[in-house]
């Protein structure tokens, strides 16, 4: 009798909790993304991806029985504006978590407010400075530029290439990459024989390339840039008839690069997430199912090509969602602690295991070496 009474009470309480939650405000995700401006090719797929998964989760009954609402602002690729939108998200929209900062600059501009408000924050930026040194409330899902350099050097050494010419872009991405590349080279046993730069809007890079070509013993070229600039570099390399192996970075990991560079991109290699080549992964690869699932969903909903950058948004969303489920609430401190305890999470970017010392949690193996072959991405074994 007594146990029956208890059970009834429990059921009533649950029902009450349920109806309460339905009536309760939705859980709010705040996002500041670069949906327009030069970084739009990063921010746009990020926003679309977040919206897809928020809608999907809501259709499946929401999170903790509550609906999720995405509140997003576009910083127009201006890092300075990210800060004021963050203020608005925290103070006016009262969001439960922040995702975004498409670029490293925006992320770093947002962080002081995040720390003061003590709110969990998952950045989509690529710079190593986001997680080194570790910042209590900030996490990161995108690969580090240092990991890209290390992955390239590992592959180059395997091919017996140790004298490498670096050509980096004067954008934030390129300059951070340049710094990390120069730092990683001695450790990898690689000599950087040239350190040239070009502007993201440059229309001709042949002067720099002619200089690189004239260097004695140069064995490969490593281009560290984002978006369209590397396509111009690739075309110029072909124009000059330079036959050296060329490495690009994950900054060109979208179909647009192949389209713009055309035949000039043939044979170039780049480190990138497995998302570019879901069908070529081994069946035993834990990422295979996830990548295929995301690619299918994204292409179906948006009709546009897949890029690694939307994948980062997906990973951020699911790391946060799992943390909320484990915490059983959206209490900011609890969710933060649970995000930090993320272990064995399989995302589009790789396997993630975070710790108080590591707020990224990706291993170098997260990057696959990919070669452009017949206008397609091809996994290098």
């Amino acid at each position: 009798m007594r146990s029956l009474f208890r059970a009834t009470l429990a059921a009533l309480a649950l029902a009450a909790a349920g109806s309460c939650a339905l009536a309760a405000d939705p859980i709010k995700i705040g996002a500041v993304l670069s949906v327009t401006g030069p970084a739009a090719f990063l921010g746009e797929p990020e926003l679309k991806t977040l919206q897809i998964y928020v809608d999907k989760t809501n259709a499946e009954g929401g999170l903790l029985g509550r609906q999720i609402e995405l509140v997003s602002y576009d910083d127009g690729s201006e890092a300075a504006r990210a800060n004021s939108f963050t203020k608005r998200l925290i103070e006016d929209d009262h969001v439960d978590v922040l995702i975004g900062g498409t670029t490293t600059g925006a992320t770093m501009g947002m962080y002081p407010l995040v720390e003061r408000a003590e709110i969990p924050f998952i950045s989509l930026g690529g710079g190593v400075v986001i997680v080194e040194p570790v910042k209590k409330w900030m996490f990161k899902v995108a690969h580090n530029d240092r990991m890209a350099a290390e992955r390239v050097f590992a592959d180059a050494k395997k091919r017996g290439l140790t004298k490498i010419a670096l050509l980096s872009e004067t954008s934030g991405f390129g300059q951070s990459g340049r710094k990390e590349t120069l730092a990683a080279a001695p450790k990898a046993g690689v000599e950087i024989v040239a350190d040239e730069t070009y502007g993201p809007k440059d229309t001709d890079v042949t002067a720099q390339l002619a200089k690189i070509r004239a260097i004695d013993g140069v064995q490969a070229i490593f281009v560290f840039g984002l978006g369209q600039g590397p396509a111009v570099v690739a075309k110029n390399i072909a124009q000059l008839g330079i036959k050296l192996p060329v490495y690009q970075t994950h900054g060109v990991a979208s179909q647009e690069f192949i389209r713009l560079a055309g035949e000039a991109a043939e044979g170039e290699r780049l480190p990138a997430a497995a998302i570019l080549v879901p069908d070529q992964l081994a069946d035993s690869d834990p990422q295979k199912a996830i990548e295929k699932d995301y690619v299918a969903l994204y292409t179906l909903k948006t009709g546009s090509d897949i890029s690694t950058f939307g994948g980062h948004a997906r990973d951020a969303f699911f790391i946060w969602k799992a943390a909320v489920e484990r915490a059983g609430s959206v209490d900011k401190a609890k969710v933060r602690d649970e995000i930090e305890k993320t272990a064995g999470f399989t995302g589009t970017g790789g396997l993630v295991t975070m710790s108080p010392e590591d707020h990224l949690g990706l291993s170098a193996s997260a990057f696959r070496m990919i070669e452009i072959h017949d206008g397609k991405w091809k996994l290098v074994p």
Partner: protein
């Protein structure tokens, strides 16, 4: 030697596109005293519209001609709807209007043609021509040759035609030109059409080499303005000389000094020119403009 020649080739190619942009600035400056900050957008529109038409399946030659005509028409619309109604306003207001126009054009392209980059196929193949160890793309020859033809055509237009002379007269003295019967309002429209067409030609020529996107005009427009300043605003010879000088300066700095100083070199030269010869290399205030 081959490295030097390579830098020269690169500099002349890029310089020719700067020259076309600078000419656009100068023509409108002469006709109205306004620095048209939408000039970069005309360059971008040329490349984007041509690439868009080619992607739709139009033959390259048709796409190129159509793009120039469409952009020239846009130039006319800009003159008629944005600049002419504000005719009485001072030059600062007009300049701000052109900045607004540039934002509208850029935004319009962003919304209708997308944010991605676009490539235009080269006019006659992409097999580089080897010359004394340096290589040059056939497209670069197109750029340089077309620029020469355009400059020659403009010179004839301004010296031999009634309309061209009218523009020159307006540049010298608007009131006097009106008194002798030059329709100065028509001069403004014509100058916008000319500048827009020049910009479009530059944008189309460079698109196969450098690709194009909705925001490609910002930097090219800025460099064109710098070239026009170096050469002397309002001077036709100055625009061409300024453009080529700027292109050469950039590529030689990148090739011999350091690529990191490439853009800095351009702006240092502007400062020097403004200090030493504020009217630019060819822009003596009393000499003939255009």
């Amino acid at each position: 030697m081959s490295q030097f020649l390579q830098s020269i080739f690169a500099g002349v190619t890029v310089g020719a596109t700067y020259a076309l942009a600078a000419l656009g600035f100068s023509i409108i400056y002469n006709a109205s005293g306004v620095i048209n900050f939408a000039q970069g957008e005309f360059i971008m529109l040329g490349g984007m519209i041509a690439a868009f038409l080619v992607a739709l399946g139009a033959p390259l030659a048709l796409a190129v001609v159509a793009a120039v005509i469409v952009v020239a028409a846009i130039g006319l619309i800009v003159a008629k709807t944005a600049v002419e109604p504000a005719r009485g306003a001072d030059v600062t207001t007009l300049i701000i209007i052109t900045i607004g126009v540039s934002m509208v054009l850029r935004g319009g392209v962003e919304v209708t043609m997308g944010k991605g980059g676009h490539a235009l196929p080269p006019f006659s193949g992409d097999k580089p021509i080897v010359l004394a160890g340096a290589t040059i793309l056939p497209q670069s020859l197109w750029v340089v040759a077309t620029t020469l033809v355009v400059v020659a055509g403009l010179a004839l237009f301004f010296e031999r035609t009634r309309l061209g002379k009218g523009i020159l007269a307006t540049a010298h003295n608007r009131l006097a030109a009106q008194l002798v019967g030059v329709d100065t309002r028509r001069v403004l429209s014509v100058s916008f059409v000319l500048s827009a067409a020049l910009g479009a030609i530059g944008g189309i020529l460079i698109a196969p080499i450098a690709n194009t996107s909705y925001d490609a005009g910002v930097m090219l427009g800025l460099k064109g303005f710098v070239a026009a300043t170096i050469g002397g605003l309002g001077s036709g010879v100055g625009a061409v000389a300024g453009g080529v000088a700027l292109g050469l300066l950039e590529s030689l700095t990148a090739g011999y000094l350091s690529s990191a100083y490439k853009d800095a070199a351009a702006f240092v030269i502007v400062l020097v020119i403004l200090l030493v010869r504020p009217s630019g290399m060819f822009g003596a205030a009393s000499s003939s403009r255009v």
